[in-house]
Symmetry: C2
Subunit: 573 residues, 2 copies
């Protein structure tokens, strides 16, 4: 397994970066009015960092806990732990702003070392940022420095073992720093799988999934990550918390659900017991076309409420469908339905991932005369149908029965089968959208995603409110949306926004994001379905929770982390 770090200034494996084809550049120019010249990232060595504020004596003390070689203060190590992977994060990093970088990176090797680190940092008032895959898109990896002697990133990369497999209970125990693909590889040797495939999958860690309350592209079939967590061990400054004696219990509140989504603010997850499944013998993904987003939504609702539910089920709105279908090959590495890769999901340990940048901005849709975000189902050129695309995926020992049952529901509700090609295309590109984002950023377009969830009856209002807010804030952006997570009572809405950079792009997006988030809160949705809270959603989260909810979080935080060293400024309003 590779423990290769990600590209410091963007996403993923630098070898997989792709240039934007000229037709896409033309699209950006003609459709969105992108005029900026190409702006490559500064060289890594030119990134500006603040001086290390921790004394040599304190660094030595940290080394005394984890071993000297596991305390890093190099320029590169600090840059690589400076921020997460939101678009503002990338814009800042590309511009050479590494001022949020930690003073040092410490890599513990065991629960005991984590516990000892927390005790030391509490005593010395050093802020601690738990760091897994580093894929937060909500500012989950930047600690408030005020009042602290310094900030360390607690990188869990050395704690990456599969600890045990209980095949009878279908529970496997892991260390938190294991990346998802490696976890799948280790489980595959036992014929097992977690089935957790968020868009951040290739770099995210298991501990990060838990801390960020992650949800994967196959959540309809395998459940959300919180459904998979049978037990947790958590190191806190107050001591160790050991949770999960049974799948379910009536012995008080389920405190596992208090740790899940706590984003490193209550403690550091040092091991996880996760429900596993048999690796599927069959996997089929296929496409369906619906006349409108409303019709497609009704079909997904029927699957969620009446069944049978596919393993993967997602519905793109008219705009996303148009863009994605218009020219599947225009964007190279993103694999066609770029927008359909955008089920981004959290992963940073103590932070959230979710890296959906869209997406397949096929040039032909512009050629065909559709204004940005104006499409309501018209066909893109190149013979692709209009309307709204559904991807339905089936995984299991045998999928024929569920596939036939779902097909009956989809057909009854107006769906037109498109065969397996759209499914293959989605599968090919499912983790690729963040690469495309890097290319778009370089070309002077801002692309970012945001997501929410609500009950079915409230989704139309939520959908309209967010789009209206984004249009109001950005002029004529391209706003695409899909539903990628369905429940009996509701679903998520995942928006991808592309706009020309105007003025300071970080400021520009901050205003748009603020407007969209306010619209979510006002329309009754949750501020995040799977990206998390981090710093970016903290104030809106307070509005969602209300003052008594905020008091609950603060009470737990104060008791477990009285010195407030854990991820200060993240999550807790």
């Amino acid at each position: 397994m590779t423990r290769e770090p990600m590209l410091w200034s963007g996403w993923g494996d630098p070898a997989r970066a792709r240039e934007l084809p000229e037709p896409v550049r033309a699209l950006l120019r003609d459709l969105l009015g992108v005029r900026s010249p190409e702006t490559p990232p500064v060289p890594l060595e030119d990134v500006r960092l603040a001086p290390v504020s921790l004394s040599a004596a304190l660094l030595e003390e940290l080394g005394g806990v984890v071993g000297g070689p596991h305390v890093l203060t190099s320029h590169e190590a600090r840059v690589r732990h400076a921020r997460g992977k939101s678009t503002p994060d990338l814009l800042l990093m590309r511009a050479g702003d590494g001022l949020d970088a930690p003073d040092a990176v410490v890599l513990p090797g065991s629960h005991e070392e984590v516990a000892e680190l927390l005790a030391l940092c509490a005593r010395e008032r050093i802020a601690v940022v738990p760091f897994g895959g580093g894929t937060s898109v909500v500012g989950g990896l930047v600690a408030s420095r005020a009042g602290f002697a310094g900030v360390v990133a607690l990188d869990l990369g050395r704690m990456d073992r599969l600890l045990s497999v209980d095949a009878e209970s279908m529970v496997a125990a892991f260390e938190p720093g294991l990346r998802a693909p490696e976890a799948e590889r280790l489980l595959a040797a036992h014929g097992l799988t977690l089935g957790h495939f968020p868009q951040s999958y290739e770099y995210a860690t298991l501990g990060g999934f838990a801390a960020a309350r992650s949800s994967g592209q196959a959540s309809a079939g395998y459940g959300r990550f919180d459904d998979m967590v049978a037990g947790l061990t958590v190191a806190t400054p107050t001591g160790t918390l050991e949770l999960g004696r049974a799948p379910k219990s009536a012995a008080g509140p389920d405190l596992r659900q208090l740790v899940l989504g706590s984003e490193g603010a209550f403690g550091v997850i040092t091991s996880l017991r996760l429900r596993v499944r048999r690796a599927p013998a069959e996997k089929v993904y296929e496409g369906w076309r619906f006349g409108s987003f409303a019709e497609g939504t009704a079909a997904l609702r029927a699957l969620a409420q009446e069944g049978p539910l596919p393993t993967v089920v997602r519905l793109s709105d008219e705009t996303e469908t148009m863009v994605g279908l218009a020219k599947p090959d225009a964007i190279g590495a993103s694999g066609g339905h770029g927008a359909d890769g955008g089920t981004g999901v959290g992963s940073g340990h103590g932070a959230h991932g979710g890296h959906a940048a869209d997406g397949g901005h096929g040039s032909r849709s512009a050629d065909g005369g559709h204004g940005a975000d104006g499409g309501t189902g018209g066909s893109g050129s190149g013979g692709a149908p209009g309307g709204c695309l559904v991807i339905a995926g089936y995984e299991g020992a045998s999928v024929a029965a569920v596939r036939a049952g779902a097909a009956a529901v989809l057909t009854r509700l107006g769906g037109e089968p498109l065969g397996e090609e759209p499914g293959r295309s989605w599968e090919h590109g499912r983790f690729s959208a963040p690469y495309l984002r890097d290319s778009l950023l370089a070309a002077g377009a801002t692309v970012e995603t945001l997501e929410t969830a609500g009950f079915w009856s409230g989704l139309p209002r939520l959908y309209d409110a967010v789009r209206l807010a984004l249009h109001g804030a950005l002029g004529s952006p391209l706003v695409m949306c899909h539903i990628s997570h369905v429940y009996e009572t509701g679903a998520s809405l995942y928006f991808t926004v592309v706009t020309a950079q105007r003025g300071d792009p970080v400021e520009q997006w901050a205003r748009a994001k603020e407007a969209a988030t306010a619209a979510v809160v006002e329309a009754g949705g949750t501020v995040s379905h799977h990206h998390g809270v981090g710093r970016d959603h903290r104030e809106a989260y307070a509005a969602e929770l209300g003052p008594v909810g905020v008091q609950i979080l603060r009470a737990v935080k104060d008791r477990l982390d009285p010195a407030g060293i854990l991820n200060p400024g993240v999550l807790i309003p």
Copy 2:
């Protein structure tokens, strides 16, 4: 709908009480050595109560909030709110000990009145016991008086409305004091159901289900009650908590799961948004026979892990099967498989229900020479097969496919189909076991239940440990067990114990319960799968949670209820 109160000294509708048939009396004598004379409860008016410790001025203030007629201090009202429905509760009540009764019963009519009551009680240091169905079997309805001016039962019986139905989202909103059968009647008018049928169903309330983290007999199909809760409104002394903007969210920890199971110690649930389902068009329950508990357990595990999962699935061990099958008609009202009615589940508001007394002590099994609890699969007489009985129930729009799929799994793993008669018998008696308990208590036998849950690989150890502890503490009790709730990773174990009363039966059971609970903790199980914590499990719960977990509960409690008025002595260690 009837709001008739339960029999104060026992369970349910006094008109449904039944005398034990002579063969059962003979069984108690010959098998268990029950020698006590019949002991009827004292008359209600002879129950001893402490003087009302609240001043007339305070009672008037309470009346100022809820209206004078909604503050009750009558002998009968106090007796009816004195305790829950555990066997020790009933033994004490039957003996005329009502010393745990509240000073007054207050019946608020709205969220605002609940909030105002909590403010008043916090100011005046009056302990508040939220009271729903009054069906706790874990001491969840008795507050610690130390340091308080008095104790009031906050009876939610007047808050019993269905507030709204959102058929698109399949969510219905309710007030907390609505009893489950009335909720089902109101939903049936919309073609809907909750599908939540714990043994306490006939008297338990929706708020109690939530506060007690209840689980019903059909949890395999409809989920646990915690799966059904989409949203909650909670009145706390610190203010109102409003939770649930979406089915699922990554916006921080899921605080719904902190309220569920909080047993009234954090606040009073004043409304609930619950996921509903379409009322099933078909219902079929059937029996299967397995050679041993281990074989039956393997079959249930396969259903839970590979599917398809029936709506109801339960497995009795050899002893429970023998007793239940031996003479289905011997016990009258309990409907045959008395033991199979014992899926008792919580319900008291801020407290837990679960009322499984067993069960069908058919005389023939004694006649057939089986010692108490000694059967390991031998046939009861009367032609009934030995081994272990599985009840599988199927509910839905159409059940044939799931039924056939489950039958294939059960057959492959050694099951022998017994047809629908055992299913009908189970259905007939599913809520009746508590009535039988009353008759057995009157006859001088102690019958009580306890339950736990664990992961599949740990169940044999848990099963053995609990049985060993009960035998050690009680000499030669009859100990029966069933699995009634299954998950992919584990299951519950539900024990029913029948023993002759020796000495003070309350003390006798307390020692046995302490031994059994210690065995559960030692063997790695949870102290309760669906009965809850109450006062009875509080110390063992602390051992299960560990000191950091206890600190979390205390932190939340201190912040939400700084005066500590809510259910003092319950839940929080």
